[in-house]
Symmetry: C2
Subunit: 246 residues, 2 copies
């Protein structure tokens, strides 16, 4: 039996990213985690805090991919509209989740704060949502079908993702090997293309970068799920590089 192909999309819900106020750090964290789980990240969308945009994007992507991960918009303020939008996307009611309420109340008490209506607002979720615990700040994320709804603040998102992770199927980890060469891309382009044609199941990428001393280097990356094949192609690539004269 062919193993199932697992893939995913991330939806970053965040005016703060689109305005340039905040540098996104969640995509790279999730991308590395998913690669490790053998889940291919096929797409990321960064969208504004607009209900209709969230509903449309979630409904499009949840049908297309094994998993969808959203970050942002589940806090206590008026601009946090993700939970309601997700409920709408699934045609479900937004209800007070009693477990979430207890967790939030406990956390607020432990911080010696007074519980307010706005804290409890974070306990409203789509009817069939399952909680994803947040060990950092209490207020949980949730899963509904194949959609995982997480906070936007990176360390809280990461805590919620560790819970989400337990519920994910795993594929063969996507392995990657990088070779850094002291050559510009132009010199390796032709033989590297030939190598890609010879081994189509290995994804080969070339990423130039400039060093502090202004010299160009290039990272050649081999990606795939067949460790032995990657090893073999790497040896071949090293031989090719050895023959190139700058």
């Amino acid at each position: 039996m062919q193993p199932e192909t697992l893939n995913a999309a991330i939806i970053i819900i965040g005016n703060e990213i689109l305005s340039g106020k905040t540098q996104d750090l969640n995509v790279q964290f999730l991308a590395l985690q998913l690669a490790d789980l053998g889940i291919r990240l096929n797409e990321v969308r960064i969208i504004p805090d607009i209900s209709e945009d969230i509903i449309n994007t979630v409904n499009k992507l949840r049908k297309k991919y094994t998993y969808v991960f959203t970050t942002g918009g589940i806090g206590p303020t008026h601009d946090d509209i993700t939970a309601k939008a997700i409920a709408d996307a699934f045609n479900e009611e937004l209800l007070l989740n009693e477990d979430a309420k207890s967790i939030i109340e406990k956390h607020v008490r432990e911080c010696d704060k007074v519980i307010r209506e706005d804290h409890i607002r974070m306990a409203y979720m789509p009817k069939s949502a399952n909680l994803l615990l947040n060990l950092e700040t209490g207020a949980p994320g949730f899963r509904i079908e194949n959609v995982f709804v997480m906070a936007g603040v990176p360390y809280i998102m990461q805590s919620i993702f560790m819970e989400a992770k337990k519920l994910l199927k795993q594929g063969k980890p996507i392995l990657s090997e990088a070779i850094e060469i002291n050559l510009s891309e132009g010199l390796i382009a032709k033989p590297f293309a030939d190598l890609q044609n010879k081994y189509p199941t290995i994804e080969m990428g070339s990423y130039p970068f400039k060093q502090q001393d202004k010299k160009w280097k290039t990272n050649l990356v081999l990606r795939g799920d067949d460790q032995e094949l990657i090893r073999q192609v790497k040896i071949e690539l090293l031989e090719i590089i050895g023959k190139i004269k700058d």
Copy 2:
């Protein structure tokens, strides 16, 4: 006459971002530049180096927004497929652009390198493309209608964007004011929501973060294009904050 609303989308073409290998730095740079030009960034998509995905995404977004900016995939290696995909999206031929060829040849000569076929590969562009000069490494980006095609390496992208910028219409700059408060979000949520309802044309966001000393702070952000109104709302918000007891 109502001033025209200018908006934009960014398409990041990059397996290296989706694999987690590279941290994207282009979104924030472009987001800040566009806000400054009064162009609203409505959406970002990060997609793989797959021709069909590039074609579909470009064709969807160029009809929806005033401007589309792509980054990535215009180098000399086999995984650089953006120029061809853009030509396909516009049903145009991919042709050797003689101006681009001269620029690339000049740059390669200046670096005392031998010109190769793969260098010249970067001079192939859709027939009606206009060059966007790249003062850093020679190989230019290009514009076709409302789509601006740029490199993925941040400092090269920035150089090309400075050329693109000259061709953009400008709206009223989108201004933002941030107030940092020593309160968690829960305490400000209710009055901040009331303020948002009172001033619907100002976009108000609340962004919590944790300090090194583990105390919560919150950034309250006001955004809009009416400087006087933002000033007035900021004063009102400061009064509200002054009355809150932790």
